[in-house]
């Protein structure tokens, strides 16, 4: 075990992946010698060479198009999009190409080796173009897997699983935790399962569900609620697509209440999908309406970030609303 922050855990996973297979490549804007603007790829070019870890021109659709070709060819590309806010020029390559490659060819070709890494989310005073959480756009696309880790241990295990998974994965990294989240991480190789949620804390009165950086928000809210005598079950969804309906349903059947906390705007966010599915699965077990505590339906603000975000106090209020319904 070693103390690592989330960036170090990601760097460590990339190094393991590049060491075990010389067809594994890391590339993106400033990813090469500089090691990425957040330093997630630090040292990889020195260790694995310029042919396998390199800078690309400033062209997101080119990065993902190039990565799709590499994956189809049998290489293992790990492409970085510098900020999730800038993934949209590559939207067509991801939605129309990456996601449909296997299906449209009748499994003659696939890009299952592709992993797209991208930092997402707010909390770094980044304003509207360095703070977005666009997971729901991609969750609407069959053929993709979408994964979001909450801490260094999770990040390493999930990223290694994503790289080795036989399907293309978008790996959203919570950038506000890059250096803030530090924890024990095994130095050796390990994987955590994709498509499986994790019950982080058991409880009996209400289920709190989130992913990525919002996990620390619901854990903080759960502590507040405990002090008011409300027992919270806390779940990390971990995979947005496909998502673990069974674990969430089982918890809601037990607690009778569900609160979903998401950083992205409320309307049509992934919390909405979860709420619709859970009311269907658990209708007769629900004691109160499913609560969604989300960002507001505005672009991500700058000066008023504190007011905007779905913080632990908003979650705490929603817990009380739900329990007292």
């Amino acid at each position: 075990m070693a103390q690592m922050n989330l960036l170090q855990a990601i760097n460590n996973a990339l190094d393991i992946a590049m060491s075990e297979n010389d067809r594994t490549l890391c590339f993106g804007e400033d990813v090469g010698h500089f090691g990425g603007v957040f330093r997630a790829t630090s040292g990889l070019q020195e260790k694995h060479g310029k042919a396998r870890c390199f800078n690309t021109p400033l062209v997101e659709q080119g990065i993902i198009g190039f990565a799709n070709g590499l994956a189809a060819q049998g290489s293992v590309p790990i492409a970085e999009i510098q900020f999730a806010d800038y993934i949209f020029p590559a939207f067509d390559q991801i939605v129309n190409e990456t996601a449909k490659f296997r299906y449209r060819s009748g499994n003659q070709f696939n890009v299952g080796n592709l992993t797209i890494r991208t930092p997402y989310g707010g909390g770094i005073a980044g304003g509207l173009y360095h703070s977005q959480s666009p997971e729901a756009y991609f969750a609407h696309t069959p053929g993709l897997k979408v994964v979001v880790p909450r801490n260094p241990y999770q990040a390493k295990g999930l990223l290694l699983a994503a790289i080795r998974d036989k399907n293309p994965v978008i790996f959203f990294e919570p950038k506000r935790l890059y250096r803030a989240s530090v924890g024990e991480v095994p130095e050796e190789d390990y994987q955590l399962p994709l498509g499986k949620a994790e019950v982080v804390k058991e409880g009996k009165d209400i289920t709190l569900l989130a992913w990525g950086a919002q996990m620390e928000i619901i854990e903080k809210a759960a502590d507040l609620a405990e002090k008011s005598g409300i027992s919270c079950e806390v779940i990390d969804l971990r995979s947005i697509l496909p998502w673990d309906v069974d674990t969430v349903s089982a918890s809601v059947i037990k607690t009778g209440r569900l609160l979903i906390n998401q950083e992205a705007p409320l309307t049509n966010g992934f919390a909405s999908e979860i709420a619709a599915t859970i009311q269907d699965e658990c209708f007769l077990h629900l004691e109160s309406p499913i609560e969604r505590v989300c960002g507001m339906d505005t672009p991500y603000p700058l000066a008023l970030e504190k007011e905007y975000v779905a913080d632990h106090l908003k979650v705490f209020e929603a817990i009380k609303r739900s329990v007292n319904f």
């Binding site: 080119g62 198009g65 994956a71 129309n96 299906y103």
Partner: protein
């Protein structure tokens, strides 16, 4: 390129502007309209066997296109798209490759597959989206793909294959393979962002990819002079630092020569090449299109006289490699085979209902399996509404 290495002309002290037309682009021509070789022309590597294979591919291509348009008109097929007039770009280009080279096409490149020996059954099964289609009946007619023949499955979005070809070729290079990727696209698709992305990525990362632009004059109804202002597509290759050549796209020997030389360069130097083949789409964009609304008969007649197949035929005849009786016999043979294949393919079952959820992922997710099971129960309830699959559900 380092900024110090920019190739600069003389310093000037009054403003001097340049544009794409400041660079004159030579056009490679080997075969004259009368089938003679231009004096001093350097022939491609070609012998009688290859010449006959190319010419037979032309004949098959024309008969296939003609029969499939007829089938579409008869209502047997939903959609078709001919490549009339530009067959030399696809067949000649593919003939300049090795079988291990990947081809990433746009959609009008059935000639490449014909040359590589895609079976008539495979063509038909794809077009009739039956259960024997390699693509499992998921894409509209003409979206072929063949892993065995190194022909990447075609997708409808335009130009997406261009940056993919750069990546594919980069992977081939890293593995040290004697292989390149050839990427076809039209001059219209070259307006898409992916064209610029793909060429720049290939140039910067030294990918052994041959970009082959079929400049056929039209993107559906939009003529190329409403598509761009520069000196064709070739001038853009120069801008990206890519070795570029323009060829007469209706001269199959020029196309073959350019592709052979480009392949050699790409493999040896690990660098991309751009070929612009100047041709003309003699047919409609597709069976859903009628060109009489946007171009003149005179224009079409002019290009009809520039037929790439006829030009090669004259050369073949002059070499005593081909004659009319051979051609007529072959055409009849192909016609009969194609008609018979249509009749077989259209009767083959649609794919099973299970194929709705396979290949979305390597293994269907629990959600997908559940959705399929619900669908099956529904079909069992209303079998008359789902005649293709109702009888086959277990």
């Amino acid at each position: 390129m380092n900024r110090d290495e920019y190739k600069q002309g003389l310093d000037v002290h009054t403003p001097v502007f340049i544009d794409g037309h400041s660079v004159e682009i030579p056009v490679l021509k080997i075969l004259n309209h009368d089938g003679t070789v231009f004096p001093g022309a350097e022939l491609p590597e070609i012998n009688q066997e290859l010449a006959v294979k190319i010419y037979q591919s032309f004949v098959f291509h024309r008969v296939l296109d003609e029969r499939m348009v007829a089938s579409q008109r008869q209502g047997r097929l939903s959609f078709y798209l001919t490549a009339l007039g530009e067959e030399a770009t696809t067949i000649g280009g593919t003939a300049g490759l090795k079988p291990q080279d990947m081809i990433m096409a746009q959609y009008r490149e059935q000639g490449a597959l014909i040359f590589r020996g895609f079976s008539l059954e495979n063509f038909m099964n794809q077009m009739f989206s039956n259960e024997k289609d390699l693509g499992k009946g998921r894409q509209m007619p003409i979206h072929y793909g063949s892993n065995d023949l190194n022909y990447m499955t075609v997708s409808s979005p335009l130009a997406t294959q261009i940056p993919q070809a750069s990546g594919y070729a980069y992977g081939q290079k890293l593995q040290g393979l004697d292989a390149v990727t050839l990427c076809y696209f039209g001059e219209g698709a070259a307006s898409e962002g992916d064209f610029h992305a793909g060429l720049n990525m290939a140039a910067v990362h030294n990918a052994p990819v041959i970009f082959f632009c079929r400049n056929n004059g039209y993107a559906i109804s939009t003529p190329s002079d409403e598509q761009f202002r520069g000196n064709g597509i070739a001038s853009r290759g120069v801008g990206y630092g890519i070795k570029t050549i323009r060829v007469d796209g209706n001269d199959v020997l020029a196309v073959l020569k350019a592709t052979q030389v480009a392949r050699d360069y790409a493999v040896k130097e690990h660098k991309p090449v751009l070929i612009e083949g100047m041709t003309y789409r003699l047919g409609a964009h597709s069976t859903s299109d009628d060109p009489t609304g946007y171009r003149t008969r005179e224009e079409e007649d002019k290009w009809q006289k520039n037929d790439p197949v006829l030009r090669m035929k004259k050369w073949m005849e002059a070499n005593n490699w081909w004659d009319d009786s051979q051609e007529n016999e072959l055409k009849e043979q192909y016609k009969e085979k194609i008609l018979a294949a249509v009749k077989v393919a259209e009767k083959i079952d649609k794919p099973p209902v299970e194929d709705l959820i396979t290949d979305v992922y390597d293994i269907p997710t629990p959600q997908l399996t559940r959705q399929l099971n619900e669908l099956k129960e529904h079909i069992k309830k209303y079998p008359y509404a789902y005649p293709f699959t109702a009888g086959r559900i277990k």
